[in-house]
Symmetry: C2
Subunit: 341 residues, 2 copies
DNA sequence: AGTTACAATGAAAGCGCTTTCATTTCTTCG
DNA sequence: CGAAGAAATGAAAGCGCTTTCATTGTAACT
């Protein structure tokens, strides 16, 4: 029978405790603690002896105990909607890389675009006493906000822009993205305009920015899609079919992501549309395949990894007590004009 | 100045401790503990009073303290190579969903396909005393294995198959995948065969299975790609260009992932290749775009999410003390024949 | 040699919970 | 109505560390 005995002598991380190491090395526990955390404070000779014992016994410190005593867990939590949609994956990678190199660990929560789940996650996460927390977006339930501010830890909100973040925000204005795309399409001028994509808060903001910029100039068509965020290749393809079936004049389409745009592109390509003359498609995200589609996809480029990196740096600075971290850290975006618009 | 005071009265999760709740509710700390963890053991009247105080104070239990005392952290760690390559993202989502619904939390580590990093991560993770750990793949440094077995906790290795897992494995044989693909291509029969893709351990196994099955029948061409795992759309496109430039007869290509295959497909399509007559492409993963490419991509389907779900279930059973968990849990795969092979 | 300063170590308390084990309070039934 | 058993609660110890604060050892200077 498999044995995961948690009793006196066989425990997680080995049976060894800091006290054991101390005894074996002939020093007091404090000295071992110092040897591990602030080796500069212990005499080289003693240090060496302790390290030898640690290596020999395979001792792995218990960070639960350490965190409890020191009130520092070296844990940073991040809540993102999903990890399966490429959009956040790179942010997480950036975040993680930066945190790991600073000796922190990432505790990931997946909210599935659900504010209720975000609240539950926040509670569960706070119970682990992270040194900081990163949230996606700026809209949270009031209970979440209350819990967060009550916890008085560094908070970074990512992937959106706001004049009044909970603490600090790293992101950009999605409405501005929508406006920019509208203007890009307006330069050439199309008979019809459409937007297709997800209905998460940020995609909606991009859509609204797009629609508003076009207000008084053109009605924006919004094909019905029975879907939740994030949208897929398939959604894009279906939506484009719908739009093209309606017929009538040249068409400029803004897709909520490159994946959706790619699907739209596939449909357009299959029908032999003339791009970008009669049909323009603009995506969002500049995914790795964007330059290689046929024709290459015009899209909005935003450095997703950089969001993670900057968020990590901000939170680390806050933890270090640096009060000079800006409330809003802006991330650049711009249109990469390729073959589809 | 922002104030993340960790002093006596303003701490993470609020200043409140279990002892405070006890005092306010007029009971002893144990009773509060029971009210939270085993409410059935406390009288409804008392329970209600305690819950009221908890709600009023916004008390968030300290799981560090709880974990230290109970030796159960309700934390499951998972180490995956990356989260940016779609391949593992869905496994993580499956894992997470299952764990969350059982009251556990996922601690994610990203190894970047680097065994050394995996070792470091393992150490860091074990220091948090998770109740179980999930690793990607079956090849680990011997130090990692030693540390893991020494920690005596449930272990699940995912995404590969082996007769001798560290504890339990959930996955499939990549060599078998390679063989299956070879056989699929052999039925139609091509003049040339090639494999293009990543060089991570599992992609290599798939390649080897493919090559071995073709041994004595055909030499398998392996275009040079200056890249690391995971490969991209771009890699696929370049590799296909290389292969096509060499000219000479019909060609059957096995790509290490659908993303690579998609790139290869784009190049083939651009050149107006006749598929699957003169050119066959088989991907791996059955990503969401696969049915929608042009022509639709033939690929190997494997339920990535299911790997996560099954891994979670296995580890939860192990934690619950169930010794009957199989050592090897096989995951199905099969070829989805669409338009490219 | 005698102070002073600093470097190196240690003793004790405590972080916020859970775990026994003991005690009290309630039921139930002869 | 009182004994016996069950239900509800509590007291005390301890999980494995870090944090003061105190002590000792070692240089450095006059």
């Amino acid at each position: 029978m498999t044995d995961y005995d948690k009793s006196k002598h066989i425990r997680n991380g080995g049976p060894v405790t800091l006290a054991d190491i101390a005894k074996l090395a002939g020093v007091s526990p404090v000295t071992v603690s110092r040897a591990i955390n602030t080796p500069a404070l212990v005499k080289p000779h003693t240090l060496e002896a302790i390290e030898k014992v640690i290596a020999r016994t395979g001792y792995v410190p218990n960070l639960l105990a350490g965190g409890l005593a020191s009130r520092r867990t070296r844990l940073i939590a991040a809540i993102v909607p999903s990890v399966a949609s490429t959009i956040f994956a790179e942010t997480i990678e950036g975040l993680n890389a930066e945190l790991v190199s600073a000796g922190y660990q990432l505790l990931l929560g997946l909210s599935g675009y659900d504010p209720g789940r975000e609240l539950e996650l926040t509670r569960a996460i706070l119970a682990r006493r992270p040194d900081g927390i990163i949230l996606t977006g700026i809209t949270h339930m009031k209970e979440t906000r209350a819990m967060l501010t009550g916890a008085s830890l560094p908070i970074v909100e990512i992937w959106d822009s706001t004049p009044s973040p909970l603490d600090t925000a790293v992101g950009f204005s999605h409405a501005a993205v929508g406006r920019l795309v509208a203007e890009h399409l307006l330069i050439r001028g199309y008979d019809r305009y459409a937007q297709v994509g997800a209905n998460d808060p940020r995609a909606v903001q991009r859509r609204d920015g797009f629609v508003n910029r076009l207000k008084g100039i053109a009605e924006v068509e919004l094909p019905e899609l029975d879907m939740n965020s994030p949208s897929t290749f398939r959604d894009g393809r279906m939506a484009m079919a719908q739009l093209l079936d309606r017929g009538g004049g040249s068409l400029g389409v803004f897709c909520s992501s490159d994946v959706v745009a790619h699907g739209a592109l596939a449909e357009a390509h299959a029908r032999g549309c003339n791009m970008p003359g009669d049909l323009a498609i603009i995506g969002f995200g500049d995914f790795d395949f964007a330059p290689h589609t046929h024709p290459p996809l015009t899209t909005v480029r935003i450095d997703r990894r950089d969001i993670g990196t900057k968020a990590a740096r901000s939170i680390l600075r806050k933890i270090a007590g640096d009060a000079s971290v800006e409330a809003m850290i802006d991330i650049d975006f711009h249109i990469v004009a390729r073959g589809t618009a």
